[in-house]
């Protein structure tokens, strides 16, 4: 395959921003089947727990334990679960809104890949609850160009809370 150097320019930033916005829309519309199509078959999808640490100990991201440690296969299992008649946490379905911002693109490790950093804020409203729940943090992605289309090859989600204030994670971030 012809190797083309990927230029980090406004056009690319526009394309990537569109892709992440599109992804957010698919999730909020519960179109998980199409969402899975945005992921490469070898995707590594993780969400390490956040730990409160002293300032000398840096970030408090603990890679040894996660809230998500997923492959395409296990993500597919989770998606199929939403299609069952008894995924009670999503029945009635929660209303979610995925906000993605502060998108930055950087050169990737491979010629057909780029690194993408973004911030996320996901709000959700459950049944008749008065309070909207939220979860927020940053995402470090690797996007890969496959057949002229960008796919998510890796995602690491870092929540900004040591103790999550959502009672469950029934959407993807």
């Amino acid at each position: 395959m012809e190797v083309q150097e990927i230029k980090l320019n406004m056009d690319l930033l526009y394309d990537i921003t569109n892709l992440l916005n599109q992804e957010a829309r698919l999730l909020d519309n519960r179109n998980y089947k199409d969402w899975l199509e945005l992921l490469t078959d070898d995707i590594v999808y993780r969400m390490p727990v956040r730990v409160t640490r002293e300032s000398k100990d840096l970030t408090g991201k603990d890679d040894a334990m996660t809230y998500f440690e997923e492959s395409k296969k296990s993500l597919t299992t989770r998606v199929l679960r939403f299609g069952t008649t008894s995924a009670w946490a999503e029945d009635p379905p929660l209303h979610t809104r995925h906000f993605v911002s502060n998108i930055m693109i950087e050169p990737g490790l491979k010629t057909n890949e780029i690194n993408v950093k973004s911030y996320f804020l996901t709000k959700r409203s459950r049944g008749t609850d008065h309070h909207a729940e939220e979860i927020f943090g940053e995402r470090i992605d690797v996007l890969r160009k496959v057949n002229e289309e960008w796919k998510i090859a890796s995602r690491c989600i870092y929540p900004d809370q040591s103790i999550l204030t959502v009672m469950n994670l029934t959407t993807f971030l």
Binding site: V49, R53, A64, M65, K73, A89, I163, L164, M167
Partner: protein, 452 residues
């Protein structure tokens, strides 16, 4: 110590009401108002959590001298730190000078802990080392050891599990765990080197009362077929609606509860929860003949160490293959309708590395906030609490028939007297004997006369 039930005649548990509650519990009925009544919650904080052994952490979390983790014993902040000699000290995480929350991080390593308020510092044995302007301001007569960090009155361990107790007169941990130890050993002591904690705990908040979660693990395999039906639909769990009933539910002393599940007639399951064959000789060496007999056919062990340490040792996975793991979890009561969950993943130190990895993935897939099983649990626990707050549910005189049904198995099921383990074992997990035992012990503590 023997406990006599005593009503707090001016409070929520008047003599008459206590009799009424007792009568209901004896019939397998639990007054719904007691789920999340604010006054009951205050009583629990004192009389249950102030007098029972509370899980604080695992020895494997502290490896080097100076390693520390901070935890909560109900509302008391606790600091666990390894000293130079390799011993684990457990202190109230509050400066002895003016009470500041001394160490605000979850985990780390320090030789000294210095209070950010006035600068008093303490070593890993809790000894007061530095006092800013010491002699000049407090004089030479200040007896420094009197101002060391305050120790949690009782700290004892069992096979790597560290417990604390605020009651200096409490029975020994060994006695408190009592009959539960035999079952704990099935996973804590099966392999050489025992279990180890991997990474930090997952933590999240659920709007439910702590008892709902404790009961769910302690004695409610009955919920599995419905709450977790989605995993049946996915083909991860068996189709047989009775699959979670096979095995034994065991009522243990001191309110502990456990379910040792197997398959129908003990058939078609790999021995020892499918753990690698190379580990079997360890099990055969470390467990007794009776324990092996039970463990060999075990599929899932799930239970609750009263009041709020749950344990779950199942087989699970989202990638088409199943692995065994252990999760320990604290249901930390925050409010009558709010609980903080601390969930640790553990696996045998002696397991092959590859197995540990797969086991960890199986854990994250099934439990924790995203777990294909637990996500639905928390949703439903929240609904129980939400629907138990109104005038009808909260009526303390039970005028609205506001009692919950824990009658399963009453007068119907006889204990299996040939069961090799301790406790009263019933030959099905679809029964409420363990939870009724839990309720009895809970009421004993709530109504205990503690004038000392």
């Amino acid at each position: 110590m023997s406990i006599t039930r005593q009503s707090n005649s001016n409070g929520v548990l008047s003599k008459e009401r206590l009799e009424n509650i007792k009568e209901k519990l004896d019939q397998g009925l639990f007054p719904q108002w007691m789920v999340s009544d604010p006054e009951i919650f205050e009583l629990e904080k004192d009389k249950v959590f102030g007098y029972t052994w509370q899980y604080l952490g695992h020895e494997s979390e502290l490896k080097e001298p100076g390693d520390y983790v901070t935890r909560w014993l109900m509302d008391d902040p606790v600091l666990l730190v390894k000293n130079k000699k390799g011993e684990i000290n457990v202190f109230l995480n509050s400066c002895s000078h003016r009470g500041t929350h001394l160490c605000a991080a979850d985990v780390g390593n320090r030789k000294t802990f210095t209070c950010p308020f006035h600068g008093w510092s303490f070593n890993t044995d809790g000894e007061l080392m530095g006092v800013i302007a010491g002699n000049k301001v407090f004089g030479e007569k200040m007896v420094r050891p009197e101002w060391n960090l305050r120790k949690i009155p009782r700290v004892e361990t069992y096979k790597g599990l560290i417990f604390g107790n605020l009651d200096k007169n409490a029975m020994a941990l060994d006695d408190y765990l009592g009959e539960l130890k035999w079952y704990f050993d099935l996973f804590l002591a099966r392999s050489d080197g025992g279990m180890e904690v991997v990474g930090s705990p997952q933590r999240w908040v659920v709007n439910t009362n702590w008892k709902i979660a404790a009961e769910n693990f302690g004695g409610d395999p009955y919920h599995v077929a419905t709450t977790h039906k989605s995993t049946v639909e996915l083909g991860i769990s068996p189709q047989d609606p009775l699959y979670a009933s096979y095995g034994h539910q065991v009522q243990l002393n001191h309110g502990h509860a456990i379910n040792v599940s197997s398959s129908e007639n003990g058939l078609n399951v790999p021995p020892y929860q499918g753990l690698p064959e190379e580990m079997w000789p360890m099990f055969e060496k470390n467990l007794t003949k009776e324990q092996l007999e039970v463990y060999k056919e075990t599929v899932v062990i799930v239970g609750n160490c009263f009041p709020n340490l749950a344990f779950h040792c199942p087989v699970h996975g989202n990638e088409g293959h199943l692995h065994n793991y252990l999760t320990l979890r604290i249901w930390r009561p925050i409010a009558p309708d709010k609980t903080e969950i601390w969930a640790w993943f553990l696996i045998d130190k002696a397991a092959p590395e590859e197995y540990k990895q797969a086991s960890y993935k199986g854990y994250v897939a099934s439990f924790g906030p995203s777990g294909t099983l637990e996500a639905d649990d928390t949703e439903i626990w929240t609904r129980v609490t939400k629907a138990s707050k109104g005038k009808m549910a909260r009526d303390r005189d039970l005028n609205f028939n506001n009692v919950l049904n824990y009658m399963m198995g009453m007068d119907k099921i006889e204990p299996n007297r040939s069961w090799p383990g301790p406790g009263i074992a019933y030959p099905t997990c679809f029964t409420d004997f363990a939870l009724r035992g839990m309720h009895d012990y809970w009421l004993d503590l709530l109504s205990a006369d503690r004038d000392e």
